[in-house]
Symmetry: C2
Subunit: 333 residues, 2 copies
């Protein structure tokens, strides 16, 4: 690797002069500066990024932390975040790790190799992250929030989304209504369930314990849970799933038993990932505005990188029920 | 942020002494060193990662470059690469960018913020990458290779995989055989097509131009191309798709026209992503050993980080036809 010493030798100046040129000092004569710059070019010298980072304290790189990259929702969200960052001339680096607290991403932030972090899969109980947030580090929670923390968060209104599904199923005449839950430590699963459960009770159709299963935000778990629901003597006529991946698994569970969707059972998801609208599934779902959420998160983060003293901000986007053929194109029995 | 100046003040020593302690110099008395270390701890001082990188020249971080993160193959591959890196105590950072040459990842390598790079979606014509490879930079091509370059590459035998599909379809009696191509600039699409096309010709059933469409490794393009093939007066009875995402689109194109798979048309994919085996699709495909390939790529890369003078190595894994209900559970007409 070419060093500043090599450049100094080639230009016939001291290393201090090379250093001054790198720092843009006005103590170097124009002719000398040009000689040094020419020598840098000739030698192929690149001021080490590490050194440059130390001077400017900005890397123009944002880290994104995700735990479930094989859930198709996250690649879509990451692509949207990447586009929003690119539009802001920022690079994206990604940590995909089972640890939702992103300890190695926090380390990178601590060490200055990223300017800020966007967490997309946070769960309750990440103490290290809570500490970093309380120190005012530039961190934004996207998609999943933390009820217990006052920090920048961009989410959708999952409570209202869950309520809308309850309204829809009761209005279309269902009384045997099932539910496949998501992991309890995630805000999305908790809020969707609370909205759905509370509204069903208000409407006089409280959720029955025997019609509730754990889908775990995973295709295989949802498929098994759906098969258990459908194997009952009096199975549900409609099943709300806490996210689209769960709904895909639920449809496949039904298909694996020779049941038809929606003739035998309705299935509803949440998120509106691309696959939800593919012909083989065509799933009714609650849409999250993924691109808008990604842009909002990037905007909040870059503002906080510039000014850590800003008060915490919470942006919540509305959700929207999208009806497709996994429910509506048939009459309720 | 706490600086070495703060530490020096707290410890009652010069900044030079703090610097010497950081560098592990033996010119500092033991008692002084302990005072400085205690001051660092008290002040919460962390030697800036950038500075540390300059000293050790290793970041234990590997960059991975991908262009198609919404193709479910890549999240699966990335998860496998992440696990292999974790087992080797390396961190993974990811660049998801439409530029398959990964110019910003190459910049990070150049600047020393990653030790090496794994490219998963390389295409012909990436001059910048070719330059970096010829300089002997620690770079491994995974999944997609470059015929024209002598460098570390981990791929599967896509030629043989394509040939196996031709053998299977001819052996099961098909004569109207269709094909949905992938992007010509990718080695995977080229090799799969060449194997399939050459073997069909050898078997006396050369691929007909009117039964060939462009699936573009994308669900929506594949769906449209399949609809065009099936709208013909004499449509194909079987369609080989250059990857699984294309096959999912092909099935959905058939479904959208009320055609049944496999009763009306057989569909075959390539990769064996998780979705290929989901009940709603259950697609016959050619399996790539994703986890083994990921481990091999990480192994080659870490060896090259240690020793750039190693000769270029090409590892090619075998492929395997996996028969599911998108083809075999029915008789050929």
């Amino acid at each position: 690797m070419v060093t500043s010493r090599d450049v100094a030798q080639l230009a016939g100046v001291s290393q201090m002069t090379v250093s001054r040129v790198l720092q843009g000092s006005d103590k170097v004569a124009a002719a000398t500066r040009e000689r040094v710059l020419a020598a840098m070019q000739e030698a192929g010298y690149r001021p080490h990024a590490a050194a440059r980072t130390m001077r400017t304290r900005r890397t123009s790189t944002v880290g994104v932390v995700v735990a479930d990259i094989t859930n198709p929702f996250y690649p879509q969200l990451l692509e949207a975040v990447g586009q929003a960052l690119e539009a802001a001339c920022q690079r994206m680096v990604l940590w995909n790790a089972p640890d939702p607290g992103g300890s190695s991403a926090l380390q990178a932030l601590d060490e200055g190799t990223v300017d800020g972090l966007i967490f997309t899969t946070i769960t309750e109980g990440s103490d290290q992250l809570a500490d970093a947030l309380q120190r005012g580090e530039p961190i934004v929670l996207l998609h999943r929030g933390l009820d217990s923390l006052d920090c920048d968060q961009v989410t959708t209104d999952n409570l209202t989304g869950g309520r809308a599904v309850a309204d829809y199923l009761v209005a279309t005449g269902h009384t045997r209504i099932g539910f496949l839950q998501g992991p309890e430590l995630t805000s999305t699963a908790r809020h969707r369930e609370r909205g759905f459960r509370d509204r069903l009770a208000e409407l006089g159709h409280p959720l029955a314990a025997e019609l509730t299963g754990q889908g775990g935000f995973a295709h295989d778990l949802a498929r098994s849970a759906m098969r258990e629901l459908l194997a009952q003597d009096d199975p549900p006529t409609a099943v709300f799933c806490a996210n689209d991946l769960t709904a895909l698994g639920a449809v496949d569970g039904a298909v694996s038993m020779g049941r038809r969707v929606p003739e035998d059972v309705w299935v509803i998801g949440y998120d509106d990932i691309a696959m939800a609208s593919w012909d083989s599934y065509d799933i009714t779902t609650v849409r999250q505005p993924i691109a808008e959420m990604a842009r909002a998160a990037v905007h909040l983060l870059l503002e906080r990188v510039d000014d850590r003293s800003l008060p915490p901000r919470k942006e919540q986007f509305p959700s929207e029920l999208v009806v497709r053929s996994s429910t509506a194109r048939t009459e309720v029995r």
